[in-house]
Point group: C2
Chain length 416, copies 2
């Protein structure tokens, strides 16, 4: 089961890997009152996105999250609310290094029953770098296994200069010779553990680099690997805004159009697939009979339900129930758009509207489950030119609703 | 005129200041086909936002934009479309330093009639750092006047490490002793000009820092000033997304509610001011009679027009015309929301809707002028509890429309 979700990477790892996420920092630099790892966008705290990035990788066995005392309850709630399964929470120390060491102690040697199995390799990452991907983690893990230690580096984005004590330019560094040291870093568990056992109080207090500690205390010289720019760190408010936009954009890359077998349904579904496709949205068309199949549901968080003549509210209600049963809206909101095409000549505009009047109460209920329901009424068109224009406008509205995921507009009935 | 827009800063500058914006770079790092300074968000290229950041400052006289040959036409169109007044376009060179020197040559000594007056101080900035603010530019300009040169610095965000040629860790720098050199930088015009006149071909080809050239060739040691993090540079796609979100958030900080004198209008306007205010939106209430006053219009890009019983489409049409006449939607889209409250007992829901039917064609026309018109119908409520809930829902919808500025949803009639 789930084999299609496994990347090729999982077949080349024949050793155990665990993760330590030190997340005890305060939120000084964001200009926000909440520590940044707990800042929320799209109804979910940043740290949950980072945990998810590791949790979905088959070859990662455990994720130890190291948390300041004041935030333990918050963290436990987050794990429960978002259904994280591989996470263990450990109490942080007074510095970053003490926190990482506490995280490492959660594994292995200890006699406690709650101790996790000691991994061959441990990856250390920042809770505020949510976009780390499997292929790069694989490189870090394999290099750590081979060399004892590994770390992500990036080219310098600015010229680095030394300043005089009076605030004047002293000299600047030759940019090509230096790199920025980033996260993730990987270590043989025994190596990084030994380094912490042996290192001094000064290291615990003021040291900045785990890579240094393993060099100094274990003679292990880290392999440095250039990482992708997606390793960037959420530091300021603008970074939270960027993270939100990236998640929204990623979610908007796919949609599922549920349509009946009749000619009008098929025609509209096909037209939507084409126009949305030209806006870089991959659209699958699913027959009404298969709409509750988990194979389709698990692939996207956006659904367009096309109905012709009959309002289809009962069908939509059933879909909402399915999303609930499959916990599909736990990690991301689900956008569900009911597109109603009335081709019966005799119905008036207000009758068409009345048919969908029930959408508001349904939407209110769905919203409580993180499902955003919108209705769009497609007026009958006379000729091919009008049809094309209507499909174009409809696609733009669907695309806007999917990209914006606005809870405030849920329950609205829009017109094309 | 316009004295309220002048900051205190403009009174302490008693010398001339001009700006050079080298913008000849290619877009390699964004992963986009367009060079990043020309990437568009909210219908406007990044470089226009940066130009605007300087143009609005009274004590900045000229902005020389240095552009690669292939982009000159594009740049001239941008200047015309967005009404930039202080800009001169200059042809770029083969490297960043040659481009800056070309920009400097646009001033002064030359015999050409088109030459700009030579400024005392020239500020050099990146076209891809749009959020630079007046107070910091003032510090840079004054320090440049006093010391001959000045530059923005920032703390390092990552540990900087030296790598061995085999890709292993060599050593890491003591972070506290170093800074990142950023933009803007300021120079006495004569100093930076001299430095370029004297510097070598190698400097033109490979040099990275203007600060170095003035030190080496003019003995001018730059004053380094810590800048705000808002000086960040748009480099990747995520940065464009962040820039768009920041502009949207900034635009959503204010709104103007236009309301009549009747009890219902005043009550609704007051309630909106309170609820939107609690979401950090500063709301001014403007009587219908003053709605075309430029004092109100110039303060915001968001307008909520409250009407009671009469549909108010003619009033809205007049407002659209006013925005057009004052060119108010040139730099940013204007959001105009018509809120219709029908308290006459006898009107049916469909009659209320019909009264606003004309909003679609009006919205289509307004959209061509970058004005986004939306309608919201407020159903009559029975008691105080319902009223509070309705106002809360209305505020959330207004807030979502203002924050999202979605062209696709313009012309829609929403319900509360
Ligand atoms: Mg470290
Ligand atoms: Mg420079």
């Amino acid at each position: 089961t789930g084999s299609e979700e496994k990347s090729p990477g999982c077949f080349s790892i024949d050793f155990t890997v665990a993760v330590v996420l030190p997340a005890g920092g305060s939120g000084e630099r964001t200009g926000l009152s909440t520590p940044k790892q707990f800042c929320t966008f799209l109804n979910r705290p940043l740290i949950s996105y980072t945990i998810q990035a590791f949790e979905r990788i088959a070859w990662i066995e455990n994720i130890v999250v190291v948390i300041a005392k004041d935030s333990i309850d918050l963290m436990v709630n987050i794990i429960q609310q978002f259904g994280h399964k591989k996470v263990k929470v450990v109490l942080g120390g007074s510095t970053r290094h003490r926190s990482i060491f506490n995280g490492l102690q959660a594994f292995g040697e200890s006699e406690e029953e709650s101790a996790l199995k000691k991994p061959k390799v441990v990856i250390i990452h920042d809770a505020v770098r949510p976009f780390v991907e499997e292929d790069f983690l694989l490189k870090i893990a394999i290099a750590a296994k081979q060399q004892g230690a590994s770390g992500a580096i990036r080219p310098l984005v600015s010229t680095v200069i030394a300043t005089t004590s009076e605030g004047y330019l002293d000299h600047s560094l030759e940019r090509a010779k230096y790199r920025a040291s980033e996260m993730p870093q990987g270590f043989l568990y025994d190596v990084i553990h030994q380094a912490y056992v042996q290192c001094s109080e000064t290291d615990f207090e003021f040291g900045t680099e785990c890579l240094h500690l393993v060099l100094q205390y274990c003679g292990t010289n880290a392999r440095l690997i250039e990482g992708p720019h997606t390793l960037w760190k959420v530091t300021y408010k603008k970074d939270l805004l960027a993270a939100e936009s990236i998640i929204k954009e990623t979610l908007a890359q796919t949609a599922c159009v549920v349509a009946g077998q009749c000619e009008e349904s098929s025609r509209l579904a096909g037209a939507l697939q084409k126009t949305l496709g030209s806006q870089d949205m991959h659209v699958d068309i699913v027959p009404t009979s298969l709409r509750r199949s988990s194979a389709f549901i698990s692939k996207t968080w956006n659904f367009v339900h096309v109905t012709v003549n009959t309002a289809g509210l009962a069908d939509v209600e059933e879909l909402v129930k399915t999303f609930e049963e499959t916990a599909h809206s736990v990690l991301y909101s689900v956008v569900l758009i009911l597109v109603h095409l009335d081709v019966s000549e005799q119905t008036s505009a207000s009758e068409r509207m009345a048919a969908l009047g029930g959408i508001r109460s349904l939407a209110a209920e769905a919203k409580r489950k993180n499902i955003l329901l919108y209705g769009i009424l497609l007026n009958p068109v006379k000729d091919a030119g009008q049809w094309e224009e209507a499909v174009e406008n409809l696609s733009q509205i669907i695309s806007a609703l999917i990209k914006e995921r606005s809870p405030a507009l849920a329950g609205q009935l829009l017109w094309v």
